[in-house]
């Protein structure tokens, strides 16, 4: 059994195995930033500061999840924690605080330039992803194993159902619990005895 450690080089492909000391530096740097952002989140009374530090925390947690061998968790955290929840929170405070001095931001041209630069960098990385996927070991042997061994080990013709419910059953359990939690949160938000379900 492979021991899962932060710097286990057997799980990395050949390209990444040369970055050994850089991995140590990246972990220490990201842990430092996480610690500082948590300090600010716990003590601030300024709402925009809180929201931006939340997204900063999410971004460096993504890097930590990658180093701990969990790329799918890292993708989910990047999409939901860093991007989606920040946007939803910022849009929602915009409705209630149009004239509040705390939420006015004057450096809009600089923000526009930075966002354009970020999108150009992302597009450049995205064009190279195809070549990266073809050469890495992770993408080629896992799906071949599932397609070849589903009917022998499980007796089902649909590999999708077998992966969802049997090979990766633990992830589906987490997904179901998340759906239930979302329903409970909606009920908690709308809990009010004054409004009946059926009008009398």
């Amino acid at each position: 059994m492979n021991k899962r450690s932060l710097f286990n080089l057997e799980n990395f492909s050949d390209i990444q195995s040369i970055f050994y000391y850089e991995n140590i530096l990246i972990t220490i740097f990201s842990i430092l930033i996480i610690y500082l952002s948590i300090r600010v989140i716990a003590r601030t009374k300024n709402i925009p500061e809180f929201i931006i530090n939340n997204s900063l925390l999410s971004i460096f947690l993504v890097i930590l999840y990658l180093l701990l061998d969990a790329p799918d968790v890292a993708m989910t955290e990047a999409a939901i924690g860093a991007c989606l929840s920040t946007v939803i929170l910022l849009e929602s405070i915009k409705i209630f605080n149009k004239n509040n001095k705390q939420f006015q931001y004057n450096k809009k041209f600089l923000a526009l330039v930075f966002c354009l630069l970020l999108t150009i960098i992302m597009i450049y990385i995205g064009c190279e992803l195809n070549d990266f996927a073809l050469t890495s070991k992770v993408h080629s042997h896992v799906s071949a194993y599932y397609l070849n061994n589903t009917y022998d080990q499980i007796g089902i013709k649909s590999s999708v159902a077998a992966i969802l419910a049997s090979y990766r059953g633990f992830d589906t359990l987490g997904e179901t619990i998340v759906i239930l939690t979302a329903g409970i949160c909606v009920i908690i938000n709308f809990a009010n005895n004054k409004y009946p379900y059926v009008k009398k």
Partner: protein, 141 residues
Amino acid sequence: MLKNNLIIHIVSHFILPFMVVFGLYIQINGEDSPGGGFQAGALLASCIILFDQLYGVKKTLTQIKHNYMLIIASIGCLIYILTGMVSFFYNQNYLNYYSLSFLSNQAQKLGIFLVELGVLFTVTFTLTLIYFEFKRFYDFK
């Protein structure tokens, strides 16, 4: 609410039982064809919502009491968790379906069936719960 559009009202009235049967068909044939718990749950939730649109809130909530929706959703999650725990009695790891039966193929199929059933309950009644929670405030105005 759909009584203003007579054509849609009558057509939906006829198509509703076929929707329910199709949802159950997707759920049961999740092992051989595309489908499973999540898709069937969404379809059955839309059947309940269509019933509510056609006949009003009172008739819907006498058929399914809103107190029971959350309980059934939680029972769905509980079914999933308990099928994982059966393997604890046979000294195996969690969610090991081979403990459910003596034949290995039948054990896997039984495990997958129970798991998808739990997912169906949870998804269906969570979606209808969210719909009725929003509908409370909309109707009250």
